[in-house]
């Protein structure tokens, strides 16, 4: 019995101390990790969408939560006016998990500026073709009120041949962004205003 209690004590103590050490490291690095994540994962996409250095845009960030999903939203302003938004959303139904997309929207022209893929785990060479410009540019300059569907479902988007799942996931992500813009634009704008003040 003594033996077992020593065994239990040592193992659980080591676990506890390890966890404590990890928590401390985690707390002290958390902010930096998030920053790095924004910079390297979203930065390039934001640069593409807004044609501005990533560091200028990254700080303009709000988080909008709806239906248990948190959507990170970046914005561009001209004085007090909001000129553009970049909304990140998960596209469900990919072949290997979610495809995270980011859609840029010109709020004045109510048009889509561009679509970027932030993160995916699709099969290289097949599903990964969603990253290709030829696929993504199909969204450019579409109005935000339009509905996005694959051509096979009667829409206007050409799917990548052999990668219907991946294409569908991207479409799903863009539809989420569209519905947020259509239904909650006011709330988002007020959040941004609050952030600006």
């Amino acid at each position: 019995m003594r033996e077992i209690s020593k065994l239990v004590l040592v193992l659980s103590l080591i676990c506890g101390i390890s966890a404590a050490a990890l928590t401390i490291v985690r707390v002290s690095l958390e902010e930096r990790i998030d920053m790095q994540n924004d910079f390297y994962v979203r930065g390039p996409a934001l640069e593409q969408l807004f044609q501005k250095p990533a560091n200028d845009v990254l700080k303009n960030k709000i988080a909008f939560a709806i239906d248990d999903i948190t959507y990170p939203i970046f914005y561009m302003t001209d004085g007090d006016m909001i000129t553009g938004l970049a909304i990140e959303a998960p596209g469900r139904g990919g072949y290997a998990g979610d495809i995270i997309i980011m859609m840029g929207i010109d709020t004045e022209a109510e048009k889509i500026i561009g679509l970027e893929i932030i993160q995916h785990s699709e099969t290289p060479g097949v599903g990964s073709k969603v990253e290709k410009v030829s696929f993504r540019k199909q969204w450019c300059n579409l109005g935000i009120s339009e509905s996005f569907e694959l051509r096979t479902h009667g829409g206007i988007i050409d799917a990548i041949s052999g990668a219907t799942y991946s294409s569908n996931a991207v479409v799903d992500g863009t539809n989420r962004v569209k519905s947020i813009i259509n239904d909650h634009l006011d709330e988002i704008e007020s959040l941004i205003q609050a952030n600006l003040d």
């Binding site: 966890a19 990890l22 998990g97 099969t123 097949v126 599903g127 990668a163 799942y165």
Partner: protein
């Protein structure tokens, strides 16, 4: 149908040994004899599936809700280590036959990156429970198929007139390379 594709993808296209490079230490060590490699392969299927189920629950019901994803590595390895050791102790007492067939390979599995890798991939791909079972069993089956094929090759390889310096692990690695090339042929079979 989706699950079948998932399984085929995990076994052939993304073979855990030859395409993902996981579990290579036992791949080289245990593949010297066909019989040992069969035992090892079956043990990996068993433990990988079991470990995936446990870690999936731990992740989705404890770690994720409390926002503790950062300790998942620690939690997973602890769960795998304890699980494997428990199964070993249990089998040793309860069934000598089963222990001799599978149990003696269990200690190898604690430090087998294939098992740990499968549990991590489960999380990465955000599978649901059924998918986790199918994926982990299929990945481990991929490991088993690869190691059995490889052991067969190696048994014949001893007879081959290999240059002295290349004998042993060196020629085994080259052979594994050629095998992995063959597996490249499956790419694109499942999208």
């Amino acid at each position: 149908m989706d699950l079948l594709l998932l399984a085929i993808g995990a076994i052939f296209v993304n073979n855990i040994l030859l395409a993902q490079y996981l579990g290579n230490c036992p791949f080289c060590g245990v593949s010297k004899k066909l019989s040992t490699s069969v035992g090892m392969g079956l043990a990996v299927i068993f433990v990988a599936t079991l470990a995936s189920i446990f870690t999936w629950f731990a992740y989705h019901y404890i770690l994720k809700p409390y926002n503790m994803e950062f300790i998942r590595t620690l939690a997973f390895i602890l769960i795998i280590a304890a699980l494997v050791q428990f199964v070993e102790i249990f089998l040793k007492k309860q069934s000598k036959t089963l222990f001799n067939a599978l149990g003696i390979y269990l200690p190898l599995i604690t430090t087998n990156c294939a098992v740990m890798g499968i549990t991590l991939l489960n999380i990465k791909y955000e599978f649901n429970f059924i998918e986790v079972i199918v994926f982990s069993a299929a990945s481990a089956a991929g490991f088993t198929i690869a190691i059995i094929l490889f052991a067969g090759l190696r048994e014949r390889l001893i007879i081959a007139p290999v240059p002295k310096a290349m004998q042993g692990t060196a020629i085994a690695l080259v052979t594994a390379g050629i095998m992995s090339m063959a597996f490249l042929g499956f790419t694109g079979m499942v999208k």
